[in-house]
């Protein structure tokens, strides 16, 4: 089940007072199904009360946008390709390569590189369905599989996400925030953050998703049991040395 934030007038959203990564290189991605064609819908943001932020948003033109903003400059990278259609799940991503390079991906297709010198800093909050500027740009529709990496993913990796591969299966060693939004659970299963819901968001059918999984194995005569890795436990950071799993 995915997360329905209603219409732009509902101003329902998820938020946590923490950010998973503070500076580029980083990648933000989620799956979004918009319910109404409204301008400037804030989809996913790491920001603060001031202007500084990394965020993904939607424009009336049907484009996605990956924005980096600081106290001086705004760097908006727009998507290219087909417009974001209504009532269909789309992959929306922002790859912030450096302070002078960023791209917006929609359905695995990159837009033109944006190169304005922007260095956001001091962010404090992570939002899904809105940002700190208020309800004026609240998003409509459904969200699922929000994720942040502390590195710039490649085009091939963004294509994998667009094909439906779970963020858990894309460069997991750099995955620092993953909120699948299955049913009414809005926990970050990688970084251990717990987002709070505002308003009355509801659950809706989850989008098509392919989970990474260990092979299915059935012991035949004389065959040894296999080791099955468990998902990284909550609170564990990417790169932590750990051995988790069980005998199968």
């Amino acid at each position: 089940m995915a997360f329905n934030v209603g219409t732009i007038n509902d101003d329902w959203y998820l938020k946590v007072t923490a950010i998973p990564v503070a500076a580029a290189p980083l990648t933000m991605h989620l799956l979004w199904r918009q319910a109404s064609v409204d301008t400037f819908q804030m989809l996913f943001s790491m920001d603060c009360a001031g202007p500084d932020r990394f965020m993904l948003y939607h424009r009336l033109e049907g484009q996605g946008c990956a924005r980096a903003r600081d106290g001086v400059n705004i760097g908006d990278a727009f998507s290219s390709g087909s417009p974001i259609a209504l009532n269909t799940w789309h992959s929306i991503g922002g790859v912030f390569v450096s302070y002078i390079s960023r791209y917006c991906f929609v359905d695995g297709v990159p837009g033109v590189e944006q190169t304005t010198d922007v260095t956001p800093s001091g962010m404090t909050d992570t939002w899904i369905g809105r940002d700190s500027t208020g309800s004026g740009g609240a998003a409509s529709g459904y969200f699922a599989e929000a994720a942040v990496w502390n590195d710039a993913l490649t085009t091939a990796e963004m294509e994998s996400l667009a094909e439906g591969l779970s963020p858990k299966g894309v460069r997991p060693q750099n995955l620092v925030f993953c909120v699948p939004l299955v049913r009414d659970n809005h926990d970050d299963i990688v970084g251990g953050l717990s987002l709070s819901a505002t308003g009355s968001p509801t659950v809706v059918p989850h989008p098509r998703i392919i989970h990474p999984y260990p092979p299915s194995y059935t012991k035949g005569t004389g065959a040894p049991p296999s080791f099955v890795p468990y998902p990284r436990p909550r609170g564990a950071r990417a790169g932590m040395a750990e051995l988790v799993g069980g005998m199968h």
Partner: protein, 163 residues
């Protein structure tokens, strides 16, 4: 390998959803499940390599199903195999054998109770002639347009055993 022994088993996380009309991932009391709609025929697909200890006497596919809300009515299920094999199936197209079905299974009187529904396959054409050591896919479809139970059906496990 003996009759009744497990050949393979699958859980919801192993679903390789089709491009459209796919069963959707969900949880129920933290149990991962795949939701099959009540109005549209939706499918889940799993893949594996046929275990070398399969003895050739056919298989039984056991679907472990709970209902989201229904406590009356019945469900219909279609299952089919696709042999990938050794230069047998072009991955760019689908080649599932004809479905085998179990229809009109009355749902449990309590939602959340998991019911095991069995569908049998004879060796050979019904299993798309998969040989041991060959890759294959299995597709599970709820025939929702024919069955009567309201609400989603939740697939919890799939087991393939030697009949």
């Amino acid at each position: 390998m003996a009759s009744g022994d497990t050949i393979a088993k699958f859980v919801p996380q192993q679903n390789e959803p089709p491009a459209s009309n796919y069963a959707t991932y969900d949880t129920r009391n933290q149990h991962p499940v795949l939701d099959f709609d009540a109005a549209t025929n939706e499918s889940a697909v799993f893949s594996d390599v046929l275990a070398r200890h399969y003895g050739g006497s056919g298989t039984t596919v056991n679907l472990h199903i709970a209902m989201s809300s229904a406590e009356a009515g019945d469900t219909d299920w279609d299952v089919s195999f696709e042999r990938i094999g050794d230069e047998q199936q072009d991955l760019d197209s689908d080649g599932f054998a004809a479905v085998q079905s179990t229809d009109n299974t009355t749902v449990p009187g309590t939602t959340g109770l998991v019911q095991i529904i069995s569908i049998t396959f004879t060796n050979g054409a019904q299993m798309d002639n998969i040989a041991v050591g060959e890759g294959y896919r299995i597709k599970v479809t709820r025939d929702a347009t024919s069955d009567t139970a309201a609400g989603d059906a939740e697939l919890r496990f799939v087991e393939i055993k030697e009949t």
